[in-house]
């Protein structure tokens, strides 16, 4: 069991129809977003998925939690092939992989209270003592329990993202996908959310895939890093090794683009 990876992705391909170039009659041409991605995420790992915009990192993430269906290849979640499972077959599995979204304003239903938002997945998955679990999830993310009665628009950006995290951990999943979850936050909220995530990974024994375009965030949080470029994996190694000795040319380009904190010699 322990040597079965949480995710085993093999030669994954995914394309979307290109409606802008659709001919008057006949099907639209397809644009390939993922061009044969293979990836193994071992249990308990924290993997950063990094790449520029259009690299396919969010598409890969959405395929992993099966918001979209790939064209070909295979996604195995804890050994089980979920590549082409229908919604009904997926439903019992959904408790075990959850997702945190980029923009909490959009990912929290504005007309539901925080309590109802966190209780949503619990009720759908048939959990008992929902109310207690909602309190527990709020405790975990460091929000006061009175927040259950609040609406998302009454919270700050950082608080909203904590609600998103609380909703994801409430069903006690094995795996969480975090899609650019700090890019909409200011720097101090970013640091707090990252600390919280680190702590939750430790305490709950989560496996985490963290999608970001920001290498310095990845470096802080992730043990392994996947670099995506135009729908292909260009590098997958330990984060430290990747930063010390990048193998792919594209990785070196990305690393060079990070502003470094050391001083320019001319100034000294």
């Amino acid at each position: 069991m322990s040597d079965t990876p949480i995710y085993d992705i093999e030669n994954l391909r995914l394309s979307f129809p290109d409606m802008a170039h659709k001919p008057l009659l006949g099907p639209a041409p397809r644009v390939e977003i993922l061009k044969g991605i293979s990836l193994r995420i071992p249990r308990g790992d924290v993997v950063g998925i990094v790449g520029g915009s259009g690299s396919g990192k969010s598409t890969l993430g959405r395929a992993m939690v099966r918001l979209i269906e790939p064209d070909s290849g295979a996604i195995r979640f804890e050994g089980q092939d979920i590549t082409h499972l229908g919604e009904d077959a997926l439903r019992p599995l959904r408790r075990r992989f959850q997702m945190i979204f980029q923009d909490p304003m959009s990912s929290l239903n504005p007309r539901r209270t925080v309590g109802a938002i966190i209780a949503g997945p619990l009720k759908l998955q048939g959990f008992d003592r929902v109310s207690g679990r909602v309190d527990q999830a709020l405790d975990h993310v460091g929000l006061p329990r009175v927040f259950r009665k609040r609406y998302p628009h009454e919270l700050s950006g950082g608080q909203r993202q904590r609600v998103g995290i609380a909703r994801a951990i409430a069903t006690e999943p094995d795996f969480i996908l975090a899609d650019e979850i700090v890019s909409g936050l200011d720097v101090s909220s970013q640091a707090q959310v990252l600390n919280l995530l680190e702590q939750l990974v430790r305490e709950l024994g989560l496996t985490l895939a963290f999608i970001s375009h920001d290498l310095s965030v990845i470096r802080r949080l992730c043990r392994h890093t996947v670099v995506l470029h135009r729908g292909e994996v260009v590098e997958y190694s330990e984060t430290q090794a990747l930063f010390d000795a990048p193998q792919a040319a594209y990785t070196r380009e990305l690393l060079d683009a990070i502003p470094l904190p050391d001083l320019d010699q001319v100034w000294v």
Binding site: L67, L90, S107, N109, P121
Partner: protein, 283 residues
């Protein structure tokens, strides 16, 4: 800042209470019309014809808003007319709303072929001139209350379908929908439990507007005598009769017109007021 917010709130409140007040008054009058109305709305009295309203010279206090050219009491006829007007508004408005909003939601959320079918239907439907369409329908269905209601529903569902489709589309693109999907909610249930509450404020505004429109359409149809039989007073038929004697008895035209105006205005303001007052996001 806090002061400005208070101001906006108070205005929304006045709008809501004034319109709700008028409509409640009207609804009570309609329900209890036989008890409230001072006279039989159909009782003619040719010797007491064209009595002016109470403040003018030669008025009869028993007929506060005067009488028409057949000597029928204007106030009683307005009160009885409210029955038809409000009945049509409620039934036609609600039915139109249910059909249009449901089709709009399905088209906007599911997209693909359901959207293709519904949207093409709406496009074709909206190319018909509405009043002509209504008259044509009544001509086919025959006059009567149910015909008017059917005509309004058949013509106006597109109004809801179009707006709600656009709203459902933009809501469907939000991540809370993806999030519900990740949680394992079924698609139809996402539409009703996640998207509908976010489209509901728009639906309420459209519904009350539609009720106002229904009142007007009923008035137009009774104005051209295509509504219900003449032994049931309606505001539209009163206006039509008043138009003929406008130079001798202006009140026969003006009072039902004012009632109609206030009612339609109240319906449109009620929707806005309800939205401002009860939407948790705006509150």
């Amino acid at each position: 800042m806090a002061d400005a917010r208070g101001l906006v709130k108070r205005r929304a409140g006045a709008r809501l209470w004034l319109s709700a007040g008028w409509l409640t008054l009207l609804a009570l009058a309609a329900v209890f019309a036989p008890l409230i109305a001072p006279h039989d709305p159909l009782a003619q009295d040719l010797f007491g014809a064209r009595l002016p309203p109470f403040w003018e010279h030669g008025a009869d206090a028993a007929f506060p808003l005067g009488t028409d050219s057949l000597g029928r009491d204007v106030l009683s006829r307005i009160i009885h007319g409210a029955r038809v007007a409000l009945g049509v508004a409620l039934i036609a408005g609600t039915l139109t709303c249910l059909i249009g909003a449901l089709l709009g939601l399905i088209a906007g959320y599911f997209r693909g072929w359901p959207d293709m079918v519904i949207s093409r239907f709406v496009d074709i439907w909206m190319a018909f001139p509405p009043v002509l369409f209504a008259i044509l329908l009544i001509a086919v269905l025959g006059t009567g209350l149910s015909s008017i209601i059917i005509a309004i529903v058949v013509i106006d569902w597109t109004r809801f379908a179009r707006v709600i489709r656009a709203e459902a589309m933009s809501q469907g693109a939000m991540d809370y929908v993806a999030s519900a999907q990740v949680a394992g909610r079924k698609r139809f249930s996402i539409m009703l439990a996640e998207i509908l509450p976010n489209v509901l404020p728009t639906i309420v505004v459209l519904l009350t507007l539609e009720m106002g429109i229904a009142v007007i359409v009923e008035a137009i149809l009774s104005f051209v005598n295509l509504s219900i039989s003449t032994d049931q007073p309606t505001w539209g038929s009163m206006i039509a009769e008043g138009r003929l004697s406008i130079h001798q008895a202006w009140w026969v035209l003006v009072f039902p017109l004012i009632t109609l105006f206030l009612t339609v205005l109240s319906f449109s303001q009620l929707g806005e007021g309800l939205k401002d007052h009860f939407d948790p996001v705006l509150r």
